[in-house]
Amino acid sequence: MSATTTNPRHSTGGTPVPPARKRNSLAKGKLPKWAIWAVAAGAIIIGAAASTLTGFNIAAFAIYSAIIFLVAATIITTVVEGKRRGTNAMWTYLIYACFIVALIPLASVLYTVLEKGLPGINSHFLFSSMNGVTGAVDNQSVNDGAPVVGGAYHAVMGTLLITLWATLISVPVGMLTAVYLVEYGQGKTLSKAITFFVDVMTGIPSIVAGLFAAAFFGMILGPSARMGIVAAVALSVLMIPTVVRSTEEMLKIVPNELREASYALGVRRWRTILKVVVPTAISGIASGVTLAIARVIGETAPILVTAGIASQINMNVFANWMSTLPTFIYYQIMNPTSPTNVDPSVQRAWAAALLLILMVMALNLIARLVASIFAPKKGR
């Protein structure tokens, strides 16, 4: 601490001021810029020392340093610049700290997925299923060093098919509902009720959506009806509100003047909506839909209770159980193929996780691109 608590007033006074430049009286009583870096350096050194005392580890070091820095910087600013500036400094550092803290899990998750997932990505993983891969096969690859076999092809296909069907159900329903809310239902009780319940629907836990679809089809087709389309219905329950919300927002920002211009030309309402309103908003709608897909593609719980789990390729959503990437990851971790040698399963799980993250990121990126590419043309 001694390095940092030397009286700063004294030290600023001691710095030789170039005689040519007049000291600005408005800058008086300000902490020089380097002082805060000095405090930071001091905090890191003391933090390192303190953490070695209690048995060195990175987390303790970071926490100690951060706390020392926060306290020291606040005290110094308070002493030099006054109490108000001191409080301001403390909150500023705290808020910066929040941001850094929030980045840690993100960085850790992405790093883990890359580090553990990359080794498992190969053509075998991408293009074969888990059909015929048993615990014995995994034991062999661990004991004899044979390559890990078994892949997620069936799960990738299941993910794509179920998401596709969910999209086919949700997009028309969601968009038409948004059209009703914005273009027809303004101020009506029914539209208020729909808005309210769409909001409520956004909060349905995903597992409850899964239970609903399972219960619904269970009553029609018998208690163990599990197949892709049931999962697609469950995902639709989660997806529809997002589609409604984003479409609604986009339709709302289409200027009313455009609608009126179209009406004044003697164009009918439905044609106005289809040819003027929707095209104007299409970029936002498309990116909203893409984000909705990105949201449901990673859902696990509803799939677990609706589509079951399969190890072979099933391209028919209307019959038999199906796997998706998220359920594949879940089962590879929770019920490893070989309970004694879990490494091959863990490797497959992380490879699948990497694949899933890439899909989600790609969808997010597409959403951004769509939003910028199809935005209404400007410029001369």
Binding site: T112, T177, L211, I240
Partner: protein, 311 residues
């Protein structure tokens, strides 16, 4: 007025188009209401056998209430831990992006935080299971050694790290982007006039935030936290993968406790008969809890809409 030139010209096909289109839009809207209603009804019908079954046949052998109570409490504990962590950090991040970060990087930084929301829950679960839980073990041991006299941190600490506290932290990471993105939006909506008025009086940045931004955003913050709560209550995978389940116990750093969503996910695939309707009944309870939380959150938002200045 028998020969009104304006009536003869109107094309019937065009009118039909209008009717069909508006009818389709209306039908879609009603379908959503029906679906939500159906969710409640189907769950209720499937859950009914549980409520009328012989208490001895229900899991735990003492009826549905004894079965559901501990996992409801577990759900609430997990969500509470998540919110205790995510609320201050999330608001801090939101303020950082809206008022502290340089204008140029604020947008991209917001996008980075939104990435947190894009990562699927199962991956958080896997991360919590394989990375976070082992990392936290020394911390849990420290807690049990130094704060073990508090029932919450009573030892001996779990050696796998798969405890309620770990699950709560994973949930916090998942809830954080919700709180951040909603409150960020509201912070950014603070009328520039109010902010400039505060700054012009010589307020520091923090004083400006305290006098102009926070009071304006308070209802928004509350509802953002409530929506985060709704998410934390219903989140399944993080808990199912991270928590090593057991009976309801006060200690957060020992193996034990369970949440509704995880209970369903872990047991549903093998369930049949009464066990099935038990789990669906549990789902119904979860649905009602989250419904209540969401309705309150939405209520707060809409009640304060007229003051938000967003129009």
């Amino acid at each position: 007025m028998t020969t009104n030139a304006l009536t003869s010209k109107s094309s019937t096909s065009g009118r039909m188009g209008d009717k069909i289109f508006s009818g389709a839009a209306l039908a879609a809207g009603i379908l959503i209401l029906v679906t939500l209603f159906a969710v409640a009804v189907f769950l209720l019908i499937q859950a009914l056998p549980t409520f009328f079954a012989d208490p001895a046949e229900v899991s735990g052998g003492q009826g549905f209430f004894t079965y559901i109570w501990p996992i409801v409490v577990g759900t609430v504990i997990a969500a509470a831990i998540a919110l205790l962590i995510a609320t201050p950090v999330g608001l801090g991040v939101a303020l950082f992006i809206s008022h502290f970060a340089p204008r140029k990087v604020a947008g991209p930084l917001g996008y980075v935080i939104d990435l947190l929301a894009a990562i699927p829950s199962v991956i958080y679960g896997a991360w919590g299971y394989m990375v976070l839980a082992p990392t936290l073990v020394p911390g849990f041991e420290w807690l049990s050694k130094n704060l073990g006299f508090i029932p919450l941190f009573e030892g001996p600490a779990s050696q796998t790290g798969k405890t309620m506290l770990t699950a709560g932290i994973v949930l916090a990471v998942m809830v954080l982007p919700i709180i951040t993105s909603l409150s960020r939006e509201i912070f950014l909506q603070t009328p520039k006039l109010h902010e400039e008025a505060a700054l012009a009086l010589g307020a520091t940045r923090w004083e400006m935030i305290k006098t102009a931004v926070i009071p304006f955003a308070r209802p928004g913050i509350i509802s953002a936290v409530m929506l985060g709560l709704g998410r934390a209550l219903g989140e399944t995978m993080a808990v199912a993968l991270v928590l090593s389940t057991g009976n309801l116990i006060p200690s957060l750093i020992k193996t034990g406790n369970q949440t509704i969503a995880a209970e369903i996910a872990l047991n549903f695939p093998e369930a049949f008969g009464l066990r099935l309707s038990e789990l669906i009944a549990a789902g119904l309870v979860l649905f009602l809890i989250t419904l209540l939380v969401n309705i309150i959150a939405r209520g707060i938002i809409s009640r304060h809409k007229e003051f938000s200045g967003a129009n």
